[in-house]
Amino acid sequence: MIIEKEDVFKILGGVMDPEVPVLSVLDLGIVREVQLENGRVIVTITPTYSGCPAMDMIRRNIESSLKQHGFPDVQIRSSLSPAWTTDWMSETGKEKLKAFGIAPPNPTQQSCEKDRFHKLEAVQCPHCNSFHTERVSEFGSTACKAIWRCLDCLEPFDYFKCH
């Protein structure tokens, strides 16, 4: 059987982030490289946050998914540099997030201020599209999200923070 990288990518497109199940690992932008060496598939991924508990599970899910699709020899490598950024998230991924009720990350050059006292970003409510929103907490239910609320429709929502 001749393995093509495209086949591997097609399978990776079906491996979902266990904490945000509408995003595949490709949407998330954590797959850095796929290499094929004598029938062995090597997938290099990068963690979103250092302590993200989903990473171990993602690693296992990629491996088992590839094995189920007929690739017995799979190796998952991890690479820290360059550090993951939400700018690597695909545009379709951002649309899927919004449909799921999570505000997608703003582009880093627009809003990712790292100063201690920064201007609050304008985050659009994923429910009513209003920009009249406020941050409740910089930290949310997972490492990658912050808690916001909409001041127009009054719904609370998660914001996938720009990173």
């Binding site: 963690p47 690479s79 540099s81 790292k114 920064h118």
Partner: protein
């Protein structure tokens, strides 16, 4: 036997890792006990970041030890052995990180004083000649900037809050200030790593740390302690306060009672 050069290097990595693990563990003690849900979640997230960073550093240190001492199979060093099977005198974390949580104000101030240092240290370590360390620093820096922002905002909120919160922050400053000098008192492995272009320049960090801390404490209406006094030292060399033993007893119990136990 390790040659001294490589042991400086691994000790330096262990110092960075132990700081993150011990402070992360301390913060995790708040999980389920935070004053309100959002802040419980915030501190638990910070704990998770710190423990994740510690893992990367332990993995790197373990790889170096295995290479330099040819450790294989059961004898090989692992991140878990480093975290769970070393005793207090092997731990190198600075004394600040092991101090008890006290009230919310003391926990916040401890995080703030450490985060300023942490941020500045990682900024420099991004350019370390140790490529793995540089990658860990680049990754971690993104996370510590959240910690610094969050803890700065809280120091100001509490310091410039009610008279109760202000007084508690004053007490926290008095309790913790004596442990800050250790951050800037270079020990042998820090000096050796700076000389090799692997470590950081502590005096440069110290200058910027003082400016940043002064800025936030002033904004928080908290008087800056006149001097650092005579700093309490020892943590970096394995001489700890009585606090560390209690953390290790809890953290290591399972691995010591059931060796090799996994989730």
């Amino acid at each position: 036997m390790q040659n001294p050069r490589s042991s400086y290097h691994t000790n330096f990595l262990l110092y960075l890792a132990d700081n993150s693990l011990i402070l992360g563990h301390r913060n995790s003690e708040w999980t389920g006990h935070g004053p309100i849900l959002e802040q419980d979640i915030a501190l638990s997230n910070i704990a998770l970041d710190l423990i994740g960073q510690a893992r990367h550093l332990y993995q790197h240190a373990a790889r170096m030890m295995n290479e330099s001492e040819n450790l294989v199979a059961d004898a090989a060093m692992t991140e878990d052995k480093l975290a769970y099977l070393r005793d207090a005198w092997d731990y190198k974390n600075c004394l600040l990180t092991e101090q008890s949580n006290g009230d919310w104000g003391k926990t916040i101030l401890r995080q703030f004083l450490f985060s300023v240092w942490h941020q500045l240290a990682y900024e420099q370590l991004r350019y370390s000649k140790d490529a793995d360390l540089a990658a860990i620093a680049e990754k971690s820096l993104k996370e510590t900037s959240y910690h610094l922002r969050w803890s700065s905002e809280w120091v100001i909120r509490l310091g410039d809050g009610t008279s109760e919160s202000h007084n508690r922050m004053m007490l926290a400053v008095m309790e913790l200030w004596k442990y800050t000098g250790e951050l800037f008192a270079p020990c042998a492995y820090e000096e050796a790593m700076q000389a090799e272009g692997i470590g950081y320049d502590l005096s440069a960090i110290h200058t910027r740390w003082s400016v940043c801390v002064q800025e936030v404490l002033t904004e928080a209406k908290l008087p800056l302690p006149k001097s650092e006094g005579r700093p309490l030292l020892g943590g970096k060399e394995g001489i700890h306060t009585e606090q560390l033993g209690y953390i290790l007893a809890e953290m290591q119990f399972l691995q010591r009672a059931y060796p090799g136990c996994e989730w």
